[in-house]
């Protein structure tokens, strides 16, 4: 039987009907005049109206949407990408929680104040302390909120760099998808409108200057800028911007930090660009710390993006192994320092021409026992296995004698419980006694924008001139600036996204609704 015969005439008919229906989108009239600077006499007519409109579907967006829905609001989430979840669904799924049940179980005494102090230290004191407290204070309860939506954590606490003690929970999937997928499922179940391929073009304001909706490209095909039909979506209570950072916006990130050029890869998804931020600035939002852009110190130059090495290094090499300069076989930094300190240290390793000399991180089978990406990393030769230290040295052209001496010195430090050379916290340090060894070459990648718009503790976006809230405009997560100061600690973006997203969702849903007109 030929392929053609397999398709019934009815099915082909259906195909045509379906395609025809898909293109019949409501007409828009004189719409562009209503965008952004809508101060005309006639109030705009919207194609669709909801109470709360969330832009972006990562941790902050999905948390805002569900929290607003819990409060009884009608909610729509739009995302310009073909898929939901932005960076959140491709991240490592690790959340810093001060005072978790798992910490209690392991006898770890933590507090909100300790977490605030750790984040302030990493942030070099540049942090917005009120927002920082709000985030840390909300982690324990938000962790339970996520569990209620079906998020599952690994049954142990991890010690990530820059934290003074183990407080990091991680999804069983080792991915933020373990949070995003359950939240999307819940959103659909609870009647939240989820729209992908819908890109924010500009804000719609009323005569009083309040944000009352947005103009979007409906059916947008990333990254083709002119695709999609223009439509207006109204928001009776407010618009919540959960639009993330701009790590993949090469032009804009280089305006902030010329050194972050195209030679540096990024861990981010390709949609992590600056248009939404610029739209907020156009209506008066105050940009804070835009030049504070974080590099992820656990990435490998031997693969694209976040990859397999980032997971391997955070759960294995950094807590349970060491990183050495391949030319000397010696350690050269505290492997559990914050991300900025580690990335800066790694990037000092260059030859006379200024080209990178990739350092190598390694641990042994015991240290790598919990690394879920080990097998995948080995499959793609990002992570390499060696039975002995001599073999490991040969693999990466490290002087073998020096490497063995370094391992011996490290083991002495572990026994003494103190790293006199670089001051690494030793609570979970492990002596490196026997092979097999697993090594990975390392070089940082652009990872996170600490900067963004200035918000208050009500998650309202503040105006550049008046420092008063821009009515109807809220922001949460990476889109906001100032919480992390000069360097965000690992696992604190999930914490920030969920806590500030819920904060924005709750407050926006509780605000007074305005009346809007349907087209």
């Amino acid at each position: 039987m030929k392929q053609k015969d397999l398709i019934s005439p009815g099915r082909r008919q259906l195909l045509r009907g379906g395609a025809a229906m898909a293109v019949s989108v409501a007409g828009l009239g004189a719409m562009s005049a209503q965008a952004a600077e809508c101060t005309g006499d006639k109030p705009p007519r919207f194609d669709e109206i909801v109470d709360v409109l969330v832009i972006g579907s990562g941790f902050a967006g999905m948390s805002a949407a569900l929290q607003a829905k819990e409060a009884g609001a009608s909610v729509m989430v739009i995302d310009k990408m073909p898929v939901f979840g932005g960076n959140s669904t491709i991240n490592g799924g690790a959340m810093a929680v001060a005072g978790s049940k798992l910490q209690d179980k392991e006898g770890i005494k933590d507090s909100v104040d300790t977490m605030v102090a750790d984040m302030l230290k990493a942030g070099r004191g540049m942090n917005d302390v009120e927002m920082l407290k709000l985030v840390c204070n909300g982690t324990a309860e938000s962790c339970q909120w996520l569990e209620a939506y079906g998020v599952e954590w690994k049954p142990f606490v991890q010690h990530f760099g820059g934290h003074s003690l183990p407080r990091v929970l991680q999804t069983v999937q080792s991915s933020g998808a373990g949070i995003i997928r359950p939240l999307i499922k819940a959103a659909k179940q609870h009647g939240i409108e989820m729209r992908n391929q819908t890109k924010l073009e500009s804000f719609v304001k009323d005569q009083a200057g309040r944000v009352i909706g947005v103009q979007v490209r409906d059916g947008y095909y990333f990254p083709k800028e002119r695709t999609g039909k223009m439509r207006l979506i109204g928001a009776r209570k407010g618009v919540i911007m959960a639009t993330g950072g701009f790590s993949r916006d090469l032009e804009y990130r280089q305006m902030q930090q010329p050194k972050l050029n195209g030679e540096l890869d990024s861990t981010n998804h390709p949609g992590a660009t600056s248009e939404a931020l610029k739209q907020m600035m156009l209506i008066g939002a105050n940009p804070i710390h835009l030049d504070q852009i974080q590099l992820g110190p656990w990435a490998s130059p031997d693969e694209k993006g976040f990859g397999t090495a980032s997971q391997f290094n955070t759960i294995a090499t950094y807590p349970s192994g060491i990183v050495v300069d391949v030319r000397t076989g010696e350690r050269f930094f505290n492997e559990l320092a914050d991300r900025k300190a580690r990335a800066d240290a790694i990037m000092t390793r260059r030859d006379e021409q200024g080209n990178p000399v990739y350092p190598v991180g390694f641990t042994n089978a015991k240290g790598a026992a919990k690394a879920q990406t080990l097998e995948w990393g080995m499959k793609y030769k990002v992570i390499q296995k060696a039975d002995t230290l001599e073999e490991l040295a040969a693999l990466y052209q490290i002087p073998a004698k020096a490497l063995k001496a370094q391992v011996a010195r490290w083991n002495d430090a572990v026994k003494a419980g103190e790293d006199k050379e670089f001051g690494r916290p030793m609570q979970k340090a492990m002596a490196l006694e026997e092979g097999p060894w697993y090594g990975v070459r390392m070089w940082p990648k652009v990872h996170y924008c600490m900067g963004g718009v200035k918000v208050n503790t009500q998650s309202q976006v503040l105006h550049l001139v008046s420092n008063e809230p821009i009515d109807g405009l809220y922001a949460a997560g990476e889109a906001t600036g100032g919480i992390h100061g000069a360097s965000r600690l690992g696992a604190c973006a999930v914490a920030e996204g969920v806590v500030t997203g819920r904060n924005a969702g709750r407050i926006c849903a509780a605000s007074a609704a305005i009346e809007l007109k349907q087209a």
Partner: protein
């Protein structure tokens, strides 16, 4: 010889306004061609203008839903890292990704996941 070639080129130019010039995958060529030998653009594009990107529903009307497609490319029970992930049921995106982000009719198809990963899907028709 040259004359034959230029005649062929001319013929191609004259007979190829719009759709006929668009390359189709061979496995779609026959199905999309009507009794008059003309490719029916509307089969995928509906009444939309040329260059529009078909909606997922256009693909689904012949190939079944995303969930049905995911079932077809399911990994064997307990498969390890030696078996590539199910491209139609991703850990990160489920089955949300519209077909056209990987499968492209008029140019070479690509794997969306491979913006980060290195998955090999030799059976994918490019």
């Amino acid at each position: 010889m040259l004359r034959v070639l230029s005649a062929l080129c001319l013929a191609a130019l004259l007979s190829a306004p719009g759709a006929q010039a668009m390359k189709l995958k061979d496995y779609h060529q026959e199905i999309m061609t009507n009794e008059q030998g003309k490719v029916e653009c509307s089969a995928c594009h509906g009444e939309a203008k040329r260059k529009s990107i078909p909606k997922m529903s256009a693909c689904e009307s012949c190939h079944g839903t995303a969930a049905e497609m995911a079932e077809l490319t399911k990994r064997p029970e307990g498969a390890g890292h030696s078996v590539e992930p199910n491209p139609h049921d991703s850990l990160h995106y489920g089955s949300d990704l519209p077909c056209t982000y990987c499968h492209q009719e008029h140019k070479e198809s690509k794997v969306y996941c491979n913006q980060c990963h290195e998955f090999k899907y030799p059976k994918m028709k490019r």
